[in-house]
Symmetry: C2
Subunit: 217 residues, 2 copies
């Protein structure tokens, strides 16, 4: 089962890497073992951290021997890269969409908050790995990730700045507002670990309200 055609960058490859959710994932032709490995790895990295997760444990949850993992992935490090940059790309794609919309800055920020809350609620494993385990990325990738993150933050800052200029938002330091928003969302990990007394919708709406009205002029 060769996967070399992945280098043919021309195709659509709509299916190209949909490790997306650890959910049901119904119709899937070539939902390769590779995807299963990535999904199980994301879950394991979230639970125990990257460094404390062993390839042997991962192999066991996948149902093969450790050595066999290397037929699907190049290294432990590559698994981390795949998970993190997959999630990061989704964030960037979403921001691209929001950025070109004809909406108020406040509305844009609200949509971005809702996006992150939903990532945290529905794609917990990958998102958690991205936000907590990026430090274990190996070197060209670490620098790359930090750069992507910084530029993402700067683009959000620009939206906030615009909002201030338009008098939609109070005159905060945009950098602080963006950090506050992006980090607040991470608190939902405790909702995940709890008995879930509140619905995802309640969590989302309350968090959005708290963060948005704190910003409103």
């Amino acid at each position: 089962m060769k996967r070399d055609q992945a280098s043919k960058a021309g195709d659509m490859e709509h299916q190209y890497e949909c490790l997306s959710l650890g959910m049901a994932q119904p119709l899937r032709r070539k939902s390769s073992k590779r995807e299963v490995i990535l999904i199980k790895a994301a879950s394991m990295f979230k639970d125990k951290g990257f460094a404390a997760s062993s390839m042997r444990d991962l192999a066991e949850t996948v149902g093969i021997e450790a050595a066999s993992l290397y037929n699907h992935i190049k290294s432990k490090s590559e698994i981390l890269q795949e998970i993190i940059f997959h999630a990061a790309t989704e964030c960037n794609v979403h921001l691209e969409e929001v950025d070109v919309e004809e909406k108020s800055s406040l509305k844009k920020i609200e949509e971005i908050i809702r996006f992150h809350v939903r990532m945290m609620l529905n794609r917990f494993e990958e998102y958690h790995v991205m936000t907590h385990e990026w430090i274990h990325l190996s070197e060209p990738h670490l620098t790359n990730f930090i750069g992507q993150r910084r530029s993402y933050v700067q683009r959000l800052e620009a939206i906030v700045e615009q909002g201030i200029k338009n008098k939609e938002m109070k005159p905060v330091v945009p950098y602080v507002a963006v950090l506050t928003i992006l980090s607040a969302v991470r608190g939902l990990e405790f909702w995940h670990r709890s008995q879930k007394k509140y619905s995802p919708q309640q969590m989302e709406d309350n968090m959005v309200m708290h963060l948005i009205t704190g910003l409103q002029a």
Copy 2:
């Protein structure tokens, strides 16, 4: 050059470490090697995570052999416990103080936010280890920590609930508000890693404003 007198815990020992290390550490009576180990460990655990930090690396930054660490600490695990429960205790002590004050709920929450922001700014290493590495606590301690954290959150929820009852705060779900606040503060880790364009005071005031006005009735 024998250093056995380190066990004579009575003396002043102002000179105790100044020659070999460039470290300043001024007035400190019995600032035992143990403390040095804990401080260096906190910094290392923050940088690389608990699991990826080796006792050999830690020993090197302390300036002794790995085996010698065990004259001061029982195990790697014990180091983590010390760091985390030390920070956790400070949070609990602070909450105790705030809780008995005769202030509005909103003011209490503000003080709690300021406390956490300052912990994040001034005691970054320990606080970061507590918030990010608690998952690596070994077993009676892990359950203990989770229990302490839950009860801490519940006490903050009670303050918010009181604030809603008093019409100081808008009717949010207290649980969500508390998660939002406690997590937002963690975003300051990126300020630490940045070039610090903004002062600690700016960070604190802006974050407090964002989170408090988002809560205000």
